[in-house]
Symmetry: C2
Subunit: 431 residues, 2 copies
């Protein structure tokens, strides 16, 4: 019996040509984080189930989870997201001076049906500011997000950072006449708006409102509001401190200039732990309907560990979803896709020359040059084809004669010219 040559469905496998693209995306995310003084951390993939059962909604630790009992009898889960592990790391640091700016690039796991942009094993970039109650923290993470889009040359016309506030929405729902006991169900219904047909959604919302059609109508009006200056909204929220905060945040965004940011009351984000400003990043075109990124403020997360209250603001961004978005808009260049594997290829004329080739390779590598040495033992012509296939611009041939003389021929594959010289001279030529 022979084994399948495919990985399990939804798993992440990357050949070098695929890895190069993913790496370009993850390294750009890292660079933008580091540019803003954020520091990288990581946590375990295997976590106690209890860490996720306690928070973040039931689904992640339930039927969408990879959980099992380990050989020591522990109930464990492959992390579906990073935030609870982050909260634990921060809670464990009694001495940690806040605020901190941290980011991470964890592999996460969810047992969902694989489809475009959704897989079971995925990289999720996470960026958080912990220990600041100021709106300056929300502004900072959104500026990093904007910086990321700028680094990928994505104009603000192709994406939208829809934002709102959970605290504002809680107040607004009450003012729409939604009973407090139904607020959770209404949040959940609002979160599903973009994924359903209008009629079906209106029906769901009406149910969530306990059949109160007056309240449901007002909620529909609320999530349809497109500007903070909307008169109906201003009247509805008169005297609300949560609304005041939303207005203040809008002024910060306009002041700095975040053209992609748009106040969208319908954005509530699914996870339970958000308490303040929430936001998501969407493609404004129709190609990629899943949010690329979701985030917001959470105030009580470290409380799970019996410690003092630590508030935070952060977001998670799916590397695959972002990559599909960039591909859709042609923002991953051929330079990324077809980067040469080395600057120079050492062709080896015979087995006797293997030693000389090794010495030359070491010499050039010590000088910082990327050198691929032939290991195929094939004929020279095939070795030249190999170099060409890898997009390597130069080939140096090493045979016994060259080794004895200490002088080598280097061919430029693009124009066919040949340079002859010592290893030092070849180094200078390549630099």
């Amino acid at each position: 019996m022979s084994l399948s040559t495919k990985p399990l469905s939804g798993m992440r496998q990357r050949l070098p040509c695929e890895f190069r693209i993913e790496k370009y995306v993850t390294e750009t995310l890292r660079l933008c984080s580091v540019q803003a003084g954020f520091e990288e951390y990581d946590g375990p993939v295997i976590e106690p189930l209890a860490l996720f059962a306690a928070k973040s909604g039931g689904e992640l630790a339930g039927r969408q989870s990879y959980c099992f009992t380990d050989r020591g009898g522990r109930e464990v889960i492959l992390r579906p997201e990073m935030t609870p592990s982050l909260a634990r790391m921060v809670a464990a640091q009694g001495e940690l001076q806040l605020p901190v700016r941290w980011f991470s690039m964890p592999l996460c796991y969810r047992y969902e049906r694989p489809q475009r942009g959704r897989v079971r094993e995925f990289l999720q970039f996470n960026l958080d500011v912990l220990g600041s109650e100021s709106l300056a923290a929300e502004l900072e993470v959104i500026l990093v997000l904007q910086g990321i889009m700028k680094s990928f040359d994505a104009p603000s016309s192709i994406y939208r950072i829809g934002w709102s506030s959970r605290r504002f929405m809680a107040d607004a729902l009450a003012r729409c006449g939604v009973e407090q006991s139904l607020a959770g169900a209404v949040f959940s219904a609002v979160d599903k708006r973009d994924k359903m047909k209008p009629d079906a959604w209106a029906e769901l919302l009406l149910q969530a409102c306990g059949g109160d059609s007056g309240a449901a109508e007002k909620v529909i009006a609320l999530v349809s509001v497109e500007a903070l200056s909307d008169q109906w909204l201003t009247d509805l929220m008169s005297g609300s401190s949560a609304f005041q905060e939303v207005v203040e945040f809008d002024e910060l965004l306009r002041g700095v200039g975040v053209p992609g940011a748009i106040f969208s009351p319908g954005v509530v984000r699914g996870l339970d732990y958000y308490t303040g400003i929430v936001f998501e990043l969407m493609d404004t075109g129709g190609e990629n309907r899943r949010s690329l990124c979701g985030g917001g403020r959470y105030d009580n997360l470290a409380g799970l560990f019996g410690n003092k209250k630590i508030s935070g603001v952060g977001f998670g961004l799916g590397v695959l979803t972002l990559t599909l978005f960039l591909e859709t808009y042609g923002l991953i260049s051929d330079t990324v896709k077809e980067a040469a594997a080395a600057e120079v290829y050492i062709a080896v004329a015979s087995f006797e020359a293997v030693t000389g080739a090794g010495i030359l390779a070491e010499f050039l590598r010590d000088k910082g040059i990327r050198v691929m040495t032939d290991v195929s033992g094939k004929k020279l012509g095939k070795q030249f084809s190999e170099a060409s296939r890898y997009g390597i611009p130069f080939v140096v041939t090493v045979g016994s004669g060259e080794v004895k003389a200490g002088v080598y021929k280097m061919k430029n594959l693009s124009d066919g010219t040949v340079f002859t010289g010592s290893p030092e001279e070849i180094t200078d030529r390549l630099k």
Copy 2:
């Protein structure tokens, strides 16, 4: 009930101060690979159990494994090593032109008792040449390994690349009088030599030899040989092609100059799939007794997938084991450990100045400067302390007055001097 603030035993958790060190190690490994024309790939953490049950000895898929049944009824395992996934990826590429040079930095999982240098979740650097039958491939991977040690400034006096050949040893054991049916048990006994007391080991070996004390004595003599020129060995191996290959490889190593490489017949490596040259990297001091790296040639791995035979040479290197080794010899500098989180800190005088601070931060970041912006809202004195704690050399203060004037004060924290200028002038000063 509050949750534990510790991760599960043996799991990998990295605070930024720890991540920085790991990152230095992994990035050095990547750089050395890329320098030699190797390309990065990755595979899934979750694999079919059958992929590991079929090969690599029983233990990895047995009691040392993290295996479970997923929600779709699949028997899966968290990969204990990378090679079977690599073999599958190569086997799936019908069109792939060989040889290829690939490397990876996978997280792997083994349910073992945690101790110094041994954990349950670990990063294992893997580097392989696939599709070359030439000893040039073995030489190349060992040159990369030597390049890695050189990059860490590790002199060859503190490490040893012990090497031998499985094919040579199979022939040698036969010539020592070990019956072919017992060869596997004897290999396994030889592999345990460094981990046992001499008497206990001699006893184990005698058992493995089926009680044949003549054969056992010869095997002891064999694994004690320290040089290929040893007369007893030369006589024993007269006319052996496997021995001839070993002699040839020794000449290659001496020819290029690999002072850390030492022929060591006792090195056989535990895993079943090696067929030719094998090697391991050891600390020559007593501090780190586990091998830092193990590798060799395997000839039949892709055969599991019913494809044509693809041979390969490669090694796996534990990032944690290597890091402990580097720490032992003081090879991780303070520069790595205490790198500043940014080049400049923006202190914010009041909430009204948050917008101005955001604009200045964006301006400087666009110029490639790493900028940490205050989000604490604390008093200026505390913000300066924060910058100092992060090792950030400069602080620019932003208040409403500065924003209006477009001129900012930048303080050098090391000498207390103050520079005053526009954002452009500050950029020039920082560069």
